[in-house]
Every structure is written in C-alpha cells, then in structure tokens.
Symmetry: D2
Subunit: 197 residues, 4 copies
C-alpha cells in the first residue's frame, strides 16, 4: 500500500509538541512508555540451515512461548533455528527482530518484523547477544559458540537446549543453564529478563 | 510483571511445528507475514542535546507522521531529535527502534520500544542508516553528517529539514532533498520506502 | 618460504621472561618502546577507482612524505587514492596499514604491509579515522565524506587536498583545513599528530 | 620529536609518480612489496589482568618466537597475555599490532607499535581473529572463547596453550590443536600461515 492513502488520515495541522502540551496529553490519554514498561527482549541463537529437525521444532516452541510471555524475540534474522523461532513467535502474536550480518534486509527470513541491517558479518553476533536481556541457545555450531561466549563474558544467562555442553568445561551453572524443554528455557529466560531490569 | 503469571496462559502441550501443520494453521488463521507486508522503516537522524527547540518540534511531528503512515521509526536511541521523534511516534501509536552506541539499554530514551545495543560507539551510525528504507535528517552536527554521507554512499534518499546544506556542494537533489515541513519529509520518505522495496 | 628454516634460527632454549630478567635485559640492551616513542599514524582517505590522475599523483606524494616524516600510513587498504598513497609510502621506506572493509586480506592493494580485516563494510571507515592521529583527505566521494565527518565529530583535524569543500558550509578552518600541496598536507598532519599526543 | 626536523630531509621537489617512473624506479631500486612477500600475521589471544604468571611467561616466549620467525604479532592491545606477548615480540625485534576495544590509543600497552582504535568494545574480537593468518590461544576466559569460536567458525587453526579444552567437546584436532610449548604453538601457527596464503 502506498503512503498516499495513509497520509490522508493525518490531520493537516499538528500542534507543536511543547513539553507542557505533551505532559497534558500524556496525563489525559494515559500514555505510559517508561522504561520499566518496555517489553523483555529474549535472544534466540542457534544453527542455521544445518540444524536438525528436532532443533527446529524446539525453536518454534521457544518462539511461540516467548511471544505468549509478551516478550520480544531477537535473533540473527536468517534461517534454521532463527527462522523457526521467528515463525513460532509470529504464531504466538509476538514481535520479531532480526539482526542481520549482511547488507540487505531482503535476506531476513519472512517472519522477521524488524530487520536490523548491520553489514558487519559475524561481528553482529555481539549485537544479538547485547540486545537480549537473556539468551536461549538451541543446537548451533561455532557461530553459536561465539554468541554463548559473548553472553557469558557479559554475565548474561544462557539457557541451552541441545546446544554446546559447556558444563563439561566446568562453566558455572549459574550462568550457563542446560535445560530440556522449550518451556524451561523460556520461563528461565523471561524470569531472568525481568530480574535484571 | 513476572513471567510466571504470563506463562500460566500458555497451553501445556504445544503441537510440534511441522511444515504441514504450519501451512494448515496459516491458511486457517489467515497469517500473512511475508516480506512484502513488512512495515516500512524510516530512520530519523539529527542532533542530540544541542538541537534547538524548533528542531525538536519538527522531530516530534515527523515521528508522529511516521507512526500515522504505519511505518516504524528507527533512530540512534538517545536524546534531542531522537527522543522527540520517538515521543511523537509513540503519540501516533507507532513502534520505535533505538540503535544505541553504548553498551547499556538503559541509555535509550524512554520512548524507545526496542533498544538495539551495539556497544560500537559511532560506528553504529552506519547501522542506523542501513536499517532505514529512507532517511530524514533534522538539524544535526558532524555525527549527523556521517549518517547523511552513509546514506548517499548507499544511494538512499535523505530528506533534510533544517539540516546540512549539501546542495551548496552540488550534491544531487535526486538523493539529497531539502524539505521545509515535517509532512513533506515523511511523505517523501514513506513514498521512497515503498518504492525501493 | 616455509617457517621451518626460520625456526632453525631460534635458540633452542629461551629463558623464562620474568619481570626481573626482563628489566635487567632492558637496561642492558637499551630497549625503549614506551608510548611516547610510538610513531605517528596518519590516515589518508579518498576515492577508490574513480579518483582522477591528479589525485593519484598527490596521493603518491603524500604517502612518500608521510614515510619520510617517519610516520605510519593508515588507509582503507583498497585501490585508487589508497593504493597510490601506500605505493608512495613504500617508496619512501615507510610502513602501511590497510583497514579493509571485506573479509579477505587478499583484497588489500599490494603495497599494504599490514592488512587489518574487519569484514564490517563501510563501518570500518570509523576505524580508519579513529586510528589516525590526523587525517589527510584527497579527492573522494560520499565514503570519504563519512570519514571526514567522523574526524570532525572526534575533533580530529582534516587536511583536505582537492576534496570536499566544507568551508562553503562554514565548517571551522581550525578543524577542516583546505591545503594545496602534498607537502602542506603532510607537514600539517604530522605536526598535528605530534601535538595531540 | 617535532615534524619540522624530519621534514627538512624531504627533497623540495618530488617527481610526479607516473606508472612509468614508478616502474623504472622499482626496477632500479629493487623494490618488492608484492602480496606474496607480506609477512605472516599471527594473532595471540588470551586473558588480560587475570592471567596467571605461567601464562605470561608462555606469552612472552610466544611473542619472541613470532618475531624471530619474521611474523607480525596481532593482539587485542591490552594487558596480561597481550602485553606479555607484545613485550616478547619487541625483544625479538618484531612488529606488534594492537586492535583495541576502546576509543583511545593510549590504552594500548607500551609494547604495541600500531594501535588500531576500533571503539567497538568486544566486537573487535572478530577483527583480531580475522586479521591473523593463524591463532595462538594462551589461557583466557570467555572473551578468549569468543575469539577461539570465531576462528573455528572461519576455519582458522587455533593452537591452544593452557587454554580452553575444547577437545572435551569433540572439536576436531584439525582445527583446534592443543600444544604444550611456545615453540610448538609458534611453529604450528607460522607454518599454517604460510600454508593458507
């Protein structure tokens, strides 16, 4: 749809937005977008095309449950676990953010609402992790390991579903939490997101 | 609100998301999140604390009109023009994305719905520009000039409101379009966003 | 040449480098690599393949003079002004650093001694500017304008040779200094580099 | 030392650098800076202040041997393993590159010849890894793990000295090679660097 028809709904004269007018309107209309009200952001990381079918099923459930918990799904925006999670989140009525490695928004999977275009290749992995309040890892190879390590370096909790087994390396279960179901992962991550705010 | 109460709404057993089940559900429920339906993203760039009051009024109007045109507002997430534009967009019922230079989501202005945390300082300016389908520049100093230049380098149109006067340097008006009102800026940018998709 | 033959020159037993041993050695041998002794780094920015022949000649002179002033040449590592400047610096016996936008060191021009591989596309422009103590701009289009604007935003002096004419926009000549010869550019930039340390 | 005295050595008139003149000079003077002649770049990654004394001793030996193998040392530019390795490389007569996370070259350890200033926080870890032809990991925590994972993701060999024990996770020893001495690490890395070119 073109912008023209949208624009015709806009009132021809808009009141200047002075702080006073703004405050008055805000009180009158009950706006409330303060930081505490911002939705939790949960980053889902994991393998792309190489992910096995079970991982994709888990990712879809995780995405759905993130949406149902009224949180925003953040991911790398491509296929595999990322796409399955986005699809699940859209099924749950949620919002999805895809932080893309390449220069083109069209590379985002079709379930991404907001493609963030970095053109920074895998350096964008750091942004995926920093943007999430908590992290859920599903399956995944070395790219996912960069993201897990970034999270742990930042002290962000990672809930791991059939992913890297860092507990074998004595990584603390305070930070790296192996879980077995999508529900455990999302309950853990959303709880953590609300805790760290 | 904690995650617990949210989670209690989630059905205890979620059907595995097979492609077939997904297709059937999609047809039944009329989901439609294909790429063509993705909302336009308009990046608003401009000065932070140093912006004069007139620029802030314009930014508020621009944000409001972007929201009314059903587009998503993208910005650098901080104060000044960025905050005024986000405030306007929230007044218009829109969605706002703030691509932050620092390591902390709490630095986002309170009208940012989705803070993207880059920790990449002003290198994030490139991401602000790449993420928008079209650009609106309001006021602004050298940081804004980096963003205008990135846009022009990518062949993205910039609509300029009381901003840099690059037409003095013979920059083509095909790419760099000085405008005089918030409405001109938003109509131009939203039209361009729909054109380039 | 393989590493093997190189390695045969290495003494079979290396003394552990304790702080005391290190200090003793340092005093005995007169090592002195303190920060004050670090060479100045001058970033040369400008057009790639589209640069006109006169710009390439200027770039070559600039590179040569940077080397002769015992400074290190920093650039974006590709062709055009960047390559001509690197070639000039090597002729002058200097060292060249190329901060590349792509993922492959092989994209560096053959006169780059040290290719830094960012894979961050034009976001690397910010790194080129931050790494230089002072900046010389030669010719150049919008990519160069992003770099000039980054430099001005950081308060770094830019010496401009046949480049953007920002003085038309009333940018202070304290920061943006139009010059007419390679010698003026390099004397200004090297002087500035030593001043800001 | 100021630039003035250096500049006085520069010949007052520099010949324009035409391709023909350049070729003639090149032949006459035996210049040879083609890509094959570029020195190998070895990235050394590892812990900062928290590194134990044994790791610092190893890092110093590694740096020294890299320099003796005529390779360039690349690192994150800060303290701990990075500083010890740079110190060792300078003792060996080598060149050191420090790719810094912050906005200030002054944060580089005093043994860094060329500080590359990214201001991109830990996203610079990706650049440290991409810039090296091969990687040596010494000790290190989660930050180092991001770098190891980036290397493996890119198919770059990592030689590990008292570092993460990824072999417990069945990571292939083709890519991740635990070694026991500085010499093993450097011989492996330099050999690999020459192999991959």
């Amino acid at each position: 749809m073109g912008a023209g028809s949208e624009e015709s709904e806009v009132p021809p004269k808009i009141e200047p937005v002075t702080p006073e007018a703004e405050k008055a309107l805000r009180v009158r209309r009950g706006w409330n977008v303060a930081m505490a009200d911002r939705k939790a952001l949960i980053s889902v990381i994991g393998g792309s095309d190489s992910a096995p079918p079970e991982a994709l099923v888990l990712a879809g459930e995780v995405g759905f449950l993130i949406a149902r918990a009224d949180a925003v799904l953040v991911c790398g925006g491509l296929n595999g676990v990322m796409e399955a999670a986005c699809k699940g989140a859209k099924r749950g009525g949620g919002t999805t953010v895809g932080i893309l490695p390449g220069p083109d928004a069209a590379a985002a999977n079709p379930w991404v609402d907001i493609p963030v275009v970095t053109a920074m290749s895998t350096a964008r992995n750091a942004i995926v992790v920093r943007t999430g309040d908590a992290i859920i890892a599903i399956d995944g190879s070395f790219g996912t390991l960069t993201e897990i390590a970034y999270a742990l370096d930042l002290g962000k909790k990672v809930f791991a579903l059939r992913s890297w087994e860092l507990e074998k390396l004595d990584v603390s279960r305070e930070l790296f939490v192996p879980v077995r179901t999508a529900r455990e992962a999302v309950e853990g991550a959303v709880g953590e997101a609300h805790r760290v705010r």
